[in-house]
């Protein structure tokens, strides 16, 4: 790798981008003029709103509906009226004729009607009806003024009554509220900015990257310049690096220009409105940390968008593929608007969300170094992965020279005519997931055990059999409902039990770093401690999932992805299996289990192996929870229900040996299957 050549590519790309009016406009000119205009527009509208009453004034009609007319009631009425008369910009009319018509014509903006005592016991009480139009800003403002005036009058009335009773007027005010704001102006500013800034930064970051990414490779393909570049003596990695740096630069420049323009406009606006910018200091240190944290994210976006650009045949296609990435990033970035969500070690692993929440925390100076490191580290990890993928794509001639007649998404391509293609597989999975979430969730909230049974049978198992029936396909053949050889089946416990133990220990390790939330543990315990017999629990937790989930994932869904290679099919079905659990904490264990189960089925040609394995896996969890207190299980466990680490070592050894034997004894069948 010659860095100098990457720089040559980089410089040329920037030169070209600078000469592109479209890029120049969206990344530099637009932000520079947009924010001042936007903010000035806002301030104009806002000042207009507050001056509505001042300018136009308002008229309040005052109606007297008193039944009891004596000195006292009339005095109260008069003091209410004079209170209204004293309102700024408001004129009060005493009992005008045709008041309804006036109100309709908006000559009168509110009607205040005083009527009599409610109830005959106790001191006099008046009912004051205020009619106004709450759908209008002016109406609401007017009501606020009227209410304030009435409250003041009421207070005076109480004071008068107290004096009459020879009591201290001070009785009205038992409390005096004295708010003392302990937040520094920096923190105050930070909490506001912490909500808006992350979103704007992420938005401008990806928008900036997206303006140029499509052009850099897909554009070169479209204009037929790519081959010339490939023929030059720059290596593919150098070309990728140069182009990647260009996207990165544009993304960062776009963010900086946007931020600069925002802060400038904001200051201008505040200064103009007379609020002054004193005390409203941008937390400089925080800002620097943010820029640093933004670097890996910019780099990630650059790499992802570059790989999309590389994969696409032309700019139009690249833009189409960019859309979902941008949508998802923007939605994830919006997390900073949710008031209660705060960064923790687990959320620090989720891309985009982590940066958004870190910004929020940094702005009010409440974050840990671990969170910063995990955020930057995990983003960098994905970043390296994305760059690696881009280089790999760039070295794949089938991608770089995709022809116009290739269908655009590679995965939908395999066996387009047959039912079992990847696209239909994903559609079926999406439908099943939706059914699980909406219907299954409802069933399970009514009655957990019964709901789980229904879900397994009606959502997971039966639709598969129904689809096969409708398509007149043989379930036995498609779903691999074959009996395994006895040697295979005998090995399954030696595979499934140690595998479950190893995964459980992995889970324990993860739990050390990212502890499960207590409500999650409670929900899990609830599942395992149902008020039903152990046999019933075993049936619902182990047997049914073993039969139904295996039929769906290892029997049915895996078939959709076998077009490319059996290995891909196993990996994809395991991924879907993990997603299906709708549980971030179980994602990795479920994925690992899915890999094992997929392998067992595809390798042996019998789904019974994975069904047994699945049942043993789930059954083991139930077993541990049920018998955790028993003395004969104690030596294996540390704490309540976690394994000693040495159990894991033994389990791993047993697993490796057993899977080795399984691999060996299933080998001939594999060959036979290929021949078929």
């Amino acid at each position: 790798m010659n860095f100098k050549k990457a720089l040559i590519v980089y410089r040329k790309e920037l030169l070209e981008l600078l000469r592109d009016r479209r890029t120049l406009f969206t990344t530099i000119i637009l932000p520079v003029i947009m924010y001042p205009l936007l903010f000035m527009g806002f301030s104009a509208i806002m000042s207009r709103q507050s001056s509505i009453l001042e300018k136009r004034g308002a008229t309040v009609a005052f109606q007297d509906s008193l039944q009891t007319r004596n000195e006292a009631t009339l005095a109260v009425r008069d003091s209410i009226f004079s209170g209204l008369q004293r309102l700024d910009y408001v004129s009060a009319l005493p009992s005008p004729p045709h008041v309804e018509q006036l109100y309709k014509d908006k000559d009168v903006n509110a009607i205040v009607t005083v009527s009599d005592s409610l109830g005959n016991v106790g001191p006099a009480k008046y009912r004051i009806k205020v009619r106004y139009d709450a759908s209008e800003e002016a109406g609401r403002l007017l009501f606020g003024k009227i209410e304030k005036s009435l409250t003041a009058t009421a207070k005076n009335e109480v004071a008068a009554r107290l004096t009459k009773l020879k009591l201290d007027k001070q009785l009205i005010d038992p409390f005096r509220i004295d708010p003392v704001d302990s937040s520094t102006s920096e923190k105050k500013m930070g909490s506001v900015l912490g909500m808006i800034l992350p979103y704007i930064m992420i938005l401008t970051l990806i928008a900036g990257a997206a303006t140029v990414a499509a052009d850099l490779v897909a554009g070169e393909k479209e204009r037929r310049t790519l081959e010339t570049l490939l023929v030059s003596s720059a290596t593919r990695s150098e070309i990728v690096l140069g182009k990647y740096l260009s996207i990165f630069t544009v993304a960062m420049v776009n963010v900086l220009i946007n931020l600069f323009s925002i802060s400038f406009s904001l200051r201008f606006l505040l200064a103009q409105s007379g609020m002054g910018t004193q005390g409203l200091q941008m937390p400089v240190k925080a800002f620097l940390i943010l820029l640093l944290a933004l670097v890996p994210l910019a780099s990630l976006f650059a790499a992802v968008l570059l790989s999309i650009s590389t994969f696409s045949r032309n700019m139009k296609e690249a833009r189409t593929y960019e859309q979902p990435i941008m949508m998802i990033s923007m939605l994830l970035g919006m997390i900073s608007f949710v008031p209660s969500v705060q960064i923790n070690n687990l959320l620090a692993l989720v891309p985009v969300v982590n940066i958004a929440l870190l910004f929020k925390a940094v702005m009010i100076n409440e974050f840990t170094l671990a969170q910063l490191l995990i955020t930057v580290g995990s983003t960098l990890f994905l970043d390296v992965l994305a760059i690696w993928a881009t280089v790999k794509l760039f070295n794949t001639e089938a991608v770089l020279f995709r022809k116009e007649d290739d269908s655009s998404l590679k995965i939908t391509r395999a066996n387009k005519r047959s039912f079992f293609n990847s696209f239909y597989g994903l559609v079926y999975f999406a439908l099943a997931l939706a059914a699980l979430y909406y219907i299954g969730g409802k069933w399970q909230s009514k009655n957990l055990i019964y709901g789980l049974e229904q879900t397994q049978v009606f959502i997971i198992l039966l639709p598969v059999l129904l689809v096969l029936r409708l398509l007149k396909l043989k379930p036995k053949e498609i779903l691999r409902y074959n009996l395994p050889r006895w040697q295979e089946a005998a090995l399954i416990p030696f595979i499934a039990i140690p595998a479950a133990i190893v995964v459980a220990i992995l889970g324990q390790l993860v739990n050390l770093i990212f502890p499960y939330p207590p409500e999650y543990i409670a929900a899990m315990e609830k599942l395992f401690n149902q008020d039903v017999s152990l046999a019933m629990s075993f049936f619902v937790i182990a047997v049914l999932p073993g039969l139904c989930e295996e039929t769906l994932f290892r029997g049915f869904l895996i078939r959709f992805f076998e077009g490319h290679s059996a290995r891909n099919a196993v990996i994809i079905s395991a991924l879907l299996f993990a997603l299906f659990h709708l549980d971030p904490f179980r994602f990795v264990p479920a994925f690992l289990l899915g890999l094992l189960l997929g392998y067992l089925t595809v390798r042996s040609g019998s789904i019974v192996n994975s069904m047994l394995s699945h049942m043993i896996n789930n059954g083991l969890a139930l077993f541990i929870v049920t018998f955790a207190g028993k003395h004969w299980l104690k030596p294996l466990l540390s704490g309540k229900d976690s394994f000693h680490w040495w159990v894991g070592v033994i389990a791993l050894a047993v697993f490796v040996v057993a899977i080795g034997i399984f691999h060996k004894i299933t080998a001939p069948r594999e060959v036979k299957q290929c021949a078929e």
């Binding site: 050549k5 040559i8 590519v9 040329k12 030169l15 070209e16 000469r19 592109d20 204009r223 037929r224 310049t225 081959e227 010339t228 490939l230 023929v231 030059s232 003596s233 720059a234 290596t235 001639e397 089938a398 770089l400 020279f401 391509r413 387009k416």
Partner: protein, 255 residues
Amino acid sequence: MIKVEALVKEFPKKDGTSFRAVDEVSFEAAHGEIVCLLGVNGAGKTTTMRIFSTVFQPQSGNAWIEGHSILTEGDKVRQNLGFLSGDTGLYARLNPREFITYFGRLYGVADGAIERRIEDMAKLLDMHEFLDKKLEFLSTGMKQKVSIVRSIIHDPPVMIFDEPTAGLDILTARNIISFIRDCKQREKCVLFSTHIMREAERLADRIIIIHQGKILASGTLEALRGESGMTDLDDVFVFFVNQAAEEIKVAANEF
């Protein structure tokens, strides 16, 4: 020089089988020689040349450019190679000077040398009036001149022209043809592909007839005429294609 040994290139097809675009191709080309790959569209000419320029990797076989293997010494191969085709695009927002300098730098040529070469070539090809205009405003002929300079900016010993006159008007095509002749005079090893018989006839020292990925015949025009008993190159070409088809039929019948 170019040396090619049993080159095979296959592309995967949608139905899972593969399509053999280049089938056991072997030949050599020396300095001061113009060799023509003659074949119809889809015969495997472009694929073969893309393997030489290391854009494609062959499934088997090997080729050497100035003694550097395309499999293991991609950088050196590209450094010794000038590549020009009829339909390459150019960066619209750069001017010819910037465009050529960009590639010169990528080839590691010093800036001073790039400048000198641009001046020399501009004089030769009459390019001075548009050297500093943006490429998007240039005519096809002007662009092709820019591409010519780009392809030799690093003074490569081997030149490859892939259908260099495809889609060009007669005057522009003439520029290219005289440039190819010029390359021969400068003792470069020249390989060009075409489906136009006249071009092959006029330019080539040796002609390699390629069809469906296979080399059917190769030699000087005279040798090919002698072998086929035809005089017109069109007829010569059709003769060899028919002969190959016959051989396949015979082979099929023997089974």
